[in-house]
Subunit: 159 residues, 2 copies
Amino acid sequence: MGKFKLDEIDHQILDMLIDNTRIPFTDIAKKLVISAGTVHVRVKKMEEAGIIKGSSLTLDYKKLGYSFIAYVGVFLNNTSQTKFVLERISEIPFVTVAHITTGKFNIFCKVRAKNTSHAKDIIFLLDDIEGIYRTETMISLEESINDKKRLMHSIFNEL
Amino acid sequence: MGKFKLDEIDHQILDMLIDNTRIPFTDIAKKLVISAGTVHVRVKKMEEAGIIKGSSLTLDYKKLGYSFIAYVGVFLNNTSQTKFVLERISEIPFVTVAHITTGKFNIFCKVRAKNTSHAKDIIFLLDDIEGIYRTETMISLEESINDKKRLMHSIFNEL
DNA sequence: GGTGAAAGCACCGAGTT
DNA sequence: AACTCGGTGCTTTCACC
């Protein structure tokens, strides 16, 4: 759970892989002027340490017909039910992430849907969960994503 | 921007790649009882169509020392400044995503930080942006993520 | 649109410095 | 810890179906 020591070479390797996980290790090796074997060993170590949890595709959900994003704040009848309700919410398809939060809402989640009508169906599923008193929906009109590469650079420059 | 026709084989290929982008195409081919060349061509087509935007590593930010997540709701003095402020917010490091939203807040963003003290620094940067009247922070106490695989399955089963 | 084979490379472990 | 090297096996293309 603690920090893990990464040196400049590790940063550079992550930096290249974060943009394209299928880039050949030989290419990485050439750019960093080290051997491909070294790249291999370092990646393996970062995997073993759990820094690299896995790899995934970045899909264009808009092109798949899912261009609707909303955040939903949830108010509970009773905060002792928080954990239970979080689990119920997580089971709903198209809820991509849910958080227990401080502040205004008890639980806070993100919904990805086809359109308003589809989102309505999903939010009705939410409202039906026992223990939920009320929900408040915020529809995303425009999204501005900061890619992982920038976050990584911020992290590396701070360490 | 519209939908794109994916058949069952494409679904299966995405399904395997979404969990591990470095899985050999020969393995996918074996499981689906098609040739590796076919897998290659289909992946290429999905890339060209923009369905697959890229691939990325899944990192453990907690292990890197960044275990703090908060959502910040932003109120503006004047909604005509919304676009401008969104851009300023997106420039702040550790802001991973920002949305223009309907509802309570004008803008809504997610912050990833080391700890409360670090988050405070970031939120102060937000508060300093011209045009922002007030912010409201919700700290994540617990996160429940629904992986991409589940979202994919939901999407495929609906199509 | 799919196949299968072949050429070119990449991966990754073993042995060395 | 990193390098080189070599066997194994993956990727990618192309003529053919």
